[in-house]
């Protein structure tokens, strides 16, 4: 297992290297002079020179690049222009908010997606299958911010069951957290649950057709055991790989969901940074989120190997 983990980690290094290089290059993609773009139209030449100096833009590109990596290795991601705080610190404060919301949404996704996918496969071509697949299709076609807005109108404005937005930290008030996070989590989860349900259904159908399932049934095992122990165990292998994609989509989705529900997570932070041309924040936030995602995918790969002995023996 350690071998697989090491191999995945070393495999991720070139990707992280290029990701960091692209993130570094972001600020240099700004048409014209980045310092002017950051300072705004009304800035004095001194202010522009100041920004240029602070961001190191007055140095040769190679020097900037070397400094970027030297700082990265020390965990130094620069200072937010907007908040005046170290980027790493701000991200460290905001990231747990996004992670808690994403975890909630992931649990909902797995529950709704797996159960409806399995049921649809077991009851193929019945009304259960059709209803599940219609909902899955609607789920993947419903933009999450639209769903969020509709839920706000219905549950917060009309019925007054839940607050329209805001955030209560999970650690200080778990029930309050649940109240403020439920609508955002559902709006994030529905799309992904639809995706997962479709994949689960097709994988299960494929597995259920295998000979060993017929054997299990033929030897008189109860259906529940056939499904849960024999079919699901094998269907989970391809399904696991989708979880990595789901986490990526969750982080993408959180950008708009957090802004919509006023949740102070990394998505809202980055949107604000973009709107305020806070480039160090954009670079740092983007880099850390992507690095996190690469790590999640390594975790998924390791789980994959744990679930599937073939992967373990082949490569491990």
């Amino acid at each position: 297992m350690a071998g697989i983990l090491m191999r995945r980690l070393t495999g991720a290094l070139p990707i992280l290297l290029i990701v960091s290089l692209l993130t570094f290059g972001l600020i240099h993609m700004i048409p014209g002079d980045p310092a002017v773009a950051i300072a705004g139209m009304s800035a004095t030449p001194e202010q522009i020179a100041n920004i240029r100096h602070n961001l190191g833009l007055d140095e040769p590109l190679l020097t900037q690049l070397v400094r970027w990596y030297a700082n990265l290795l020390q965990g130094e991601l620069g200072t937010s222009l907007l908040l005046g705080q170290p980027v790493l610190h701000v991200v460290a404060v905001r990231l747990p908010v996004t992670l808690a919301l994403s975890a909630y949404a992931l649990v909902l996704t797995l529950l709704i997606g797996l159960i409806s996918g399995i049921l649809a496969a077991l009851r193929q071509n019945t009304w259960i299958d059709q209803v599940a697949m219609v909902f899955a299709m609607l789920g993947i076609s419903l933009p999450n911010f639209y769903l969020g807005l509709l839920m706000i109108i219905l549950f917060a404005v009309d019925l007054r069951w839940l607050p329209t937005g805001g955030y209560v930290p999970l650690t200080s008030d778990p029930l309050g957290w649940l109240a403020t996070s439920t609508m955002p989590a559902i709006s994030l989860a529905l799309l992904l649950a639809g995706l997962l349900a479709r994949i689960t259904r097709s994988t299960m159908l494929e597995v259920l057709r295998q000979d060993y399932i017929r054997t299990a049934r033929a030897k008189g095992l109860p259906e529940r055991r056939v499904v849960l122990k024999h079919a699901l165990a094998n269907a989970m292998i391809p399904i696991t790989t989708v979880v990595g994609i789901i986490v990526s989509l969750l982080l993408s989705g959180s950008v708009v969901t957090e802004t919509l529900f006023s949740i102070p997570g990394i998505g809202q932070l980055l949107t604000q940074a973009v709107l305020n041309r806070d480039y160090p924040m954009v670079q740092g936030g983007l880099l850390m989120t992507t690095a996190l995602l690469v790590l999640v995918n390594i975790g998924v790969d390791v789980c994959y190997a744990l679930l599937d002995p073939r992967v373990r023996y082949e490569r491990g």
Binding site: I15, P143, L293
Partner: protein, 283 residues
């Protein structure tokens, strides 16, 4: 490798695929409405008429009016046109760039490693995050949004083309063409790419949906085309403040967005079922 060029049996199967046809109808309606925008929505989508503000949908104002009294009918329909232009542009850029990169990586083993590492790195970024970062750099205009979306989604297309090309490259008929003295360009153009089209077409139909959806997300966040440009995301973002009293400002463009994405998803599913049986979600 399955698929190949669209032949009559393929077309027949598509025509008999009910969900595909439903997708075609939904997406077709949006396309026609977008194309006919100047005819069916002659009122300037940005024309202010404060005395008519917050009118609910009625015979006079089919979709109602917004906080500036602008006709929502005009704004939603011109928004459809903008969505279609952005979606189609992203698809075209993607088809060209994705095919070029994917074919180069899949066919020339020496380029593969380098191209695919950059590709993987671009795919590692969460899509919307990368898109807003790129628009932060380029600026908030329709053209810049198209470039941002193309940067975000081209790597996904390139990967799909590459995997088809890798399989096809080793096929006997390709080896035969090579033995007969055909050059790389000819082999790619005549023998490989036409057979790699099926998964690409499927991908592009889903990509159209992603592009429309992501563009709406960007403008909803305020990092897309600047207001008062009538994009669906902009209309919904402006309507957010008034959702208690004038919910139609949100629900109508949102429904238009959903119909478009649903149509494209159904269309993509149908194309996949018929063109690329390997990926089929079993019926």
């Amino acid at each position: 490798m399955s698929g190949g060029s669209v032949s009559n049996p393929t077309l027949r199967r598509l025509l008999h695929h009910r969900l595909f046809m439903l997708g075609c109808v939904l997406f077709g309606i949006v396309l026609v409405v977008a194309a006919l925008a100047p005819v069916i929505a002659p009122v300037d989508p940005n024309k202010l008429a404060m005395r008519f503000k917050f009118r609910p949908p009625s015979q006079e104002f089919i979709f109602g009016t917004d906080n500036f009294g602008r006709s929502l009918w005009s704004r939603v329909i011109w928004g459809a046109q903008l969505s279609m232009i952005i979606g189609a542009s992203v698809v075209v850029i993607n088809a060209i760039a994705g095919t070029a990169i994917g074919a180069a990586a899949g066919y020339f083993a020496r380029l593969d490693n380098m191209l695919m590492r950059v590709n993987d790195a671009l795919m590692a970024f969460p899509a919307v995050l990368l898109a807003i970062a790129v628009t932060a750099v380029l600026g908030p205009s329709v053209n810049d949004v198209i470039i941002a979306l193309a940067i975000v989604y081209t790597p996904r297309t390139a990967r799909i083309v590459r995997s088809s090309v890798i399989v096809l490259r080793e096929m006997e008929y390709v080896q035969a063409a090579r033995a007969a003295g055909a050059g790389h360009w000819r082999i790619l153009r005549r023998h490989i790419l036409p057979n790699a089209m099926a998964p690409l077409i499927v991908q592009l139909s889903f990509l159209f949906a992603y592009a429309v959806l992501t563009e709406a997300t960007l403008s909803f966040l305020g990092v897309g085309a600047v207001p008062p440009t009538p994009t669906w995301g902009n209309i919904m973002a402006e309507g957010r403040q008034y959702m208690t009293d004038a919910p139609w400002i949100i629900t109508i463009p949102g429904a238009a967005l959903m119909i478009t994405v649903l149509g494209l998803n159904l269309l993509g599913d149908g194309l996949r079922d018929v063109l690329d049986p390997r990926l089929r979600v079993q019926q």
